[in-house]
């Protein structure tokens, strides 16, 4: 089944015409309503009239997360605040969150895109869908929720945590599909197996996102739970979950290209790469009213294909993500930059000691160990003093990162160095 055959299966020529028309309108609206972009365009001598069709998109300036932060909270909104019906936010690297807003029409677009992906994965209005993404400022919970309601299926809004209750509801309500992070489903799978519940539940599908995962994880989840698992991708800056998702052929994630125009660029030169080559994914929002973005750099590395899929959809497909072009780590769904750790250590210790982040996955939950070398100047004959230092570092890091790390004090020079430079991150999680 296809939710919106007109849009999802339109010919590439028709699609280009639609994208061109939408881009022209969007650029003109942004120019007149967002001072930040108007100035940026004026600096490079670009006028709205210079953008005639979708091919002209490369004349537009790029947007980064920093631009959103610089305009915190509502500086990039293109509509009066009174037209905003919802705010979401994601954790910021240095205190300030990245804030996004939606008009009523944006919410409609969002629920349309999510519904497309749910149908792509084989759901219909008869399904009962458990949402085990967090509800709140994070886009996962509410984003998926509205999509399921739009489809007409039944929502079980569980949010995160309380695995025992999640399993009870799943069994009692006859839940047929779940939306959550892949690591949480792995965790849930184990709990289901331990309780001998796998054959008692009616689960058939899973829509997993907000974290990088692999084909191996998909196969493992599918065989252990006897379900089919689908990838749902998105980021709050562009919209939230629903920007792209994969169909039953699992040959890449279909992008809702009538709403989000994708480009793949070389993160160094910022030039486009050839079809099929790996680069950084960039999105221009074509229809968003509240927060339209020009060429937003996602930092996610992937490749793209424009070939028609076996499922009949003509939309471009991106491959599974191959990493990031910055050093961001996603730990328990939270974005963590090593620079945040550095800043927090600086706060505690005045100058940065040598440190290393060790990320691992124990019982399918991410763990973060922060190793800190006990240099001469921190060292005291008093054990209590050292333990206080360790606790203070842990507390400061928790405040800064939003997740609880385990701090380990280690001997000086014990952290691995390559060419004199300390290695900052070891990610032991297996993501192929």
């Amino acid at each position: 089944m296809i939710w919106n055959e007109t849009k999802e299966c339109m010919s590439r020529d028709e699609l280009a015409n639609l994208q061109s028309a939408r881009l022209r309108k969007m650029v003109s609206r942004v120019y007149h309503n967002v001072e930040y972009y108007r100035k940026k365009m004026q600096q490079i001598g670009l006028e709205p009239g210079d953008i005639k069709d979708i091919e002209d998109i490369n004349k537009l300036p790029y947007t980064t997360k920093q631009d959103l932060r610089d305009n915190y909270p509502f500086g990039l909104f293109a509509v009066p605040r009174s037209e905003i019906v919802r705010i979401h936010a994601s954790s910021g690297t240095t205190g300030k969150a990245t804030v996004v807003g939606y008009t009523r029409k944006d919410i409609e677009t969002w629920q349309e895109c999510v519904a497309r992906i749910l149908v792509m994965g084989g759901l219909d209005h008869d399904d009962i869908v458990q949402i085990s993404y967090g509800y709140g400022l994070f886009t996962g919970g509410l984003g998926a929720h509205y999509g399921v309601e739009n489809l007409g299926a039944t929502v079980v809004p569980m949010s995160t945590g309380n695995t025992k209750k999640q399993i009870t509801m799943m069994e009692d309500f006859g839940v047929t599909a779940i939306c959550c992070t892949p690591s949480y489903l792995m965790y849930l799978t184990e709990a289901l197996e331990e309780n001998g519940m796998v054959d008692k539940i009616k689960l058939k599908k899973a829509f997993l996102g907000a974290e990088p995962w692999t084909e191996n994880m998909r196969r493992e989840i599918e065989s252990r739970l006897h379900i089919s698992a689908h990838d749902i991708y998105g980021l709050s800056e562009v919209m939230g979950p629903g920007v792209a998702g994969d169909c039953k052929f699992h040959t890449g994630l279909h992008i809702a290209e009538d709403h989000f125009y994708p480009e793949i660029i070389d993160p160094e030169t910022l030039e486009p790469v050839k079809e099929g080559e790996t680069g950084e994914l960039v999105f221009t929002t074509l229809t968003k009213e509240a927060l339209p973005l020009f060429r937003y750099r996602t930092k996610d590395l992937t490749s793209i294909t424009y070939e028609k899929c076996e499922c009949g959809r003509t939309s471009a497909r991106i491959s599974r993500f191959k990493g990031r072009s910055d050093d961001m780590l996603i730990i328990r769904g939270v974005n963590v930059f090593p620079s945040q750790v550095e800043a927090a250590l600086l706060e505690v210790a005045e100058t940065t000691p040598n440190y290393m982040l060790v990320v691992d996955r124990v019982n399918n939950l991410d763990t973060l160990d922060v190793l800190v070398e006990v240099e001469e100047r921190f060292f005291s004959d008093d054990i209590g003093e050292l333990e206080r230092l360790s606790k203070k570092i842990a507390h400061t890091l928790q405040q800064a990162l939003g997740i609880q790390p385990k701090v380990k004090l280690v001997e000086p020079k014990s952290i691995e160095r390559s060419e004199g430079k300390a290695k900052r991150v070891i990610d032991k999680r297996v993501l192929d």
Binding site: V374, E375, E376, F378, F379, S380, D381, D382, I383, L386, E387, S390, K408, L409, V410, E411, P412, K413, S414
Partner: protein, 131 residues
């Protein structure tokens, strides 16, 4: 008397104390007294050695965090009630013992770290201890 003790930060892992002992052996340093305090992740090795300044130098060259701390060393006959007597003098002087350990040999000193070192040394001397 007040002696300089060497404190070393070591991780709570196999072979760590061994490496320190090897380093000191190689530099002909004798360990007279030692103790290891343990936490979940790290340990604190404290020792009275034949040459404290050299020990710290050797350890720093070996990339350890080490430092000198003043401790009290007292000779105590290995007899009934002597430890009680010593502890009573310290308690009566109104000071608290932070840590304390004994020596490897028969006639080695007892090592004591208290809240006010000078105060305790004076009290011990007054009570006739060989400090």
């Amino acid at each position: 008397m007040i002696t300089q003790q060497v404190s070393v930060f070591i991780e709570n892992k196999e072979g760590r104390f061994l490496r320190v002992a090897e380093l000191l052996k190689d530099h002909n340093i004798n360990i007279i007294s030692f103790s290891i305090a343990e936490t979940e992740e790290f340990g604190m090795l404290r020792m009275v050695v034949s040459d404290p300044a050299k020990t710290v130098k050797v350890l720093k060259e070996g990339e350890y965090s080490a430092r000198l701390t003043d401790v009290i060393t007292v000779k105590l006959p290995n007899e009934e009630g002597t430890l009680f007597g010593l502890l009573k003098v310290i308690a009566d002087s109104g000071n608290n013992i932070r840590y304390m350990y004994t020596s490897l040999g028969d006639d080695g000193p007892i090592v004591i770290k208290t809240t006010n070192q000078e105060d305790v040394v004076a009290a011990l001397k007054k009570a006739g201890y060989e400090v």
